[in-house]
């Protein structure tokens, strides 16, 4: 029993290392994409559309409880400025 549990823990650690490796590769690709992106330098008066409240790169306040309900029912969470885990018995 102990041997099986020990082997299982080792397998979990290997999976974790593989995932970290994949994360580093994805992060490198994202940084490359950002540096290659031909972003235009904008003056403040050109940002009227970007500054619209519905253009904000955040969740709406009214979505706050919806994100919690989704984290209760689904196995995935995070990367949405909502719950990543902990804080309640749901995940």
């Amino acid at each position: 029993m102990m041997t099986t549990s020990f082997i299982h823990q080792k397998i979990l650690i290997l999976h974790k290392l593989k995932m970290i490796n994949q994360f580093v590769k994805v992060l490198a690709c994202i940084l490359l994409a950002i540096s290659a992106t031909s972003c235009v330098h904008l003056k403040e008066y050109q940002k009227s559309r970007l500054n619209d409240s519905e253009m904000a790169l955040t969740n709406r306040k009214v979505e706050k409880n919806e994100l919690n309900f989704q984290s209760y029912r689904e196995g995935a969470s995070g990367a949405n400025a909502g719950k990543t885990g902990g804080g309640c018995g749901c995940n």
């Binding site: 904008l42 306040k61 885990g85």
Partner: protein
């Protein structure tokens, strides 16, 4: 050309006559009868530094009503009703003051209150006598300092959540920096939750207390909190034995990264990623599992979990009235779950102050390697759960939202600056369905 010169001279004369200097101190006599804004008294005696007092910047109220139905309750081993009603409420107050160098301090105080009733919770006791509902209270506090020159921020936050079977304390540090041209922003948030799971087991696994006398015809009920009551034939509680419930820790540590970039006058994107590690008691003690032998037990999950969600948001202002809000997330963890989330919301601005936003969200996931349905687990499995949260399924969530933010305030009330109402319908291929309606009110 003569007309142009005369127009310019005329315009400059009009500007000269209309211009006036700002008075040194605000006139308190002009204060509105009710206002969330405290007028600021400028201190002109100190050169180059004018401290401004604490004021309420914004108050937000969000309430949601959630109703759910399904047939795979984890409390009864993956079968049975999942009927839940949840009424969630949150109040957030933002207080602002300006310190040295005109740096902005924001103190955000939040209070959440949820009340839920869950039909399956009654079956923590095998005879259905356990308490079917509960409440959760979760206050939070966050302080953020914004540098007036660079736009960078630094902050710390604290969080608490309490419900009858779970207590949580959380802390976080967050920091962000803008690019030199202020078109991009990089943010980091380090968060830790230090939780305690109260070990409330299903009634058949709770050791029977010593009861010296049980009158004939009496009923013994074990409640969800572990108490054992003896009820006589007249319905009176004649004995009440309180168990001292043990707890088990659960720790969640996460590092969240984000980078946002304005691409052009209509498009901006944000990349998000989290590294999350959890350890401790990661299941729930009142979730049953039925083996293929027919014997029941309590779910058993590994004591560690590592999660890696990666997401991207993209907002595009199409034309003059339409905005496209798109989101995609890929998730993986070392329990074997892989999932995709994609959503699109299309706010249509009927007027600059009223918009209608239909939305659709798609979600799919593979099963965790420890999941199996009712009576499909083998007693030799090292870990086992029949919680359909870890099963393979697809889900769709669609609905519509309305937002009103007129310049003179909602219903003519100047301080009531924003009202949002949103409805959504959620369905899973596991036959779970739910509806949620939310209201958000913002006051300034």
């Amino acid at each position: 050309m003569k007309k142009v010169y005369l127009s310019v001279i005329g315009f400059s004369i009009i500007c000269r006559l209309s211009a006036y200097s700002q008075p040194k101190s605000d006139s308190i006599g002009r204060k509105a009868p009710f206002s969330l804004y405290t007028p600021v008294m400028q201190d002109s005696s100190r050169d180059g530094y004018s401290p401004r007092r604490l004021r309420i910047d914004e108050i937000d109220l969000v309430s949601s009503y959630y109703i759910q139905n399904g047939d795979h309750s984890p409390i009864t081993g993956g079968i049975g009703t999942e009927h839940v009603i949840d009424f969630s409420n949150g109040l957030d107050v933002n207080l602002v003051w300006f310190g040295q160098g005109n740096n902005k301090n924001t103190l955000a105080a939040g209070l959440g209150y949820d009340h839920h009733s869950s039909a399956s919770a009654s079956y923590v006791a095998l005879n259905g006598g356990a308490k079917p509902g509960g409440t959760r209270i979760y206050p939070s506090l966050d302080w953020t300092l914004e540098n007036a020159k660079t736009g960078g921020t630094f902050g710390i936050g604290a969080y608490y959540s309490g419900e009858y079977n779970y207590k949580s304390k959380g802390l976080d540090l967050h920091w962000s920096e803008k690019t030199a041209d202020k078109s991009g922003e990089f943010g980091v948030k380090l968060q830790g939750y230090f939780d305690k799971v109260t070990l409330i087991y299903p009634s058949e696994f709770v050791p029977a207390p010593i009861i010296t006398v049980i009158p004939p015809g009496s009923t013994i009920i074990t409640t969800a909190s572990g108490n054992r009551e003896v009820i006589n034939t007249g319905g009176q509680v004649i004995s009440n034995t309180k168990n001292s419930l043990p707890t088990s820790p659960r720790t969640t540590l996460s590092a969240s990264f984000s980078y946002s970039q304005q691409i052009n006058t209509r498009l901006q994107v944000m990349f998000l990623g989290d590294l999350v590690t959890q350890s401790g008691y990661l299941g729930l003690p009142f979730h049953r599992v039925y083996f293929n032998t027919g014997k029941d037990t309590i779910e058993k999950l590994p004591s560690s979990r590592f999660k890696l969600p990666l997401g991207v948001r993209l907002n595009y202002f199409l034309g003059d009235n339409v905005i496209l809000r798109a989101y995609y997330r890929y998730y993986m963890d070392n329990w074997g779950i892989r999932s995709n989330t994609a959503s699109l919301e299309v706010p249509y601005k009927v007027t600059p102050f009223f918009s209608i936003s239909p939305f659709y969200r798609y979600y799919d996931q593979t099963a965790a390697r420890y999941f199996a349905p009712y009576e499909q687990h083998s007693p030799t499995d090292p870990y086992y759960t029949s919680n359909y949260e870890y099963s393979k399924f697809q889900a769709g969530f669609y609905g519509v939202g309305f937002r009103i933010a007129p310049p003179k305030g909602v219903f003519g009330w100047q301080n009531f600056h924003e009202l949002e109402i949103r409805y959504g319908h959620y369905t899973e291929t596991t036959d779970l369905i739910s509806d949620v309606i939310s209201v958000s009110m913002g006051f300034k």
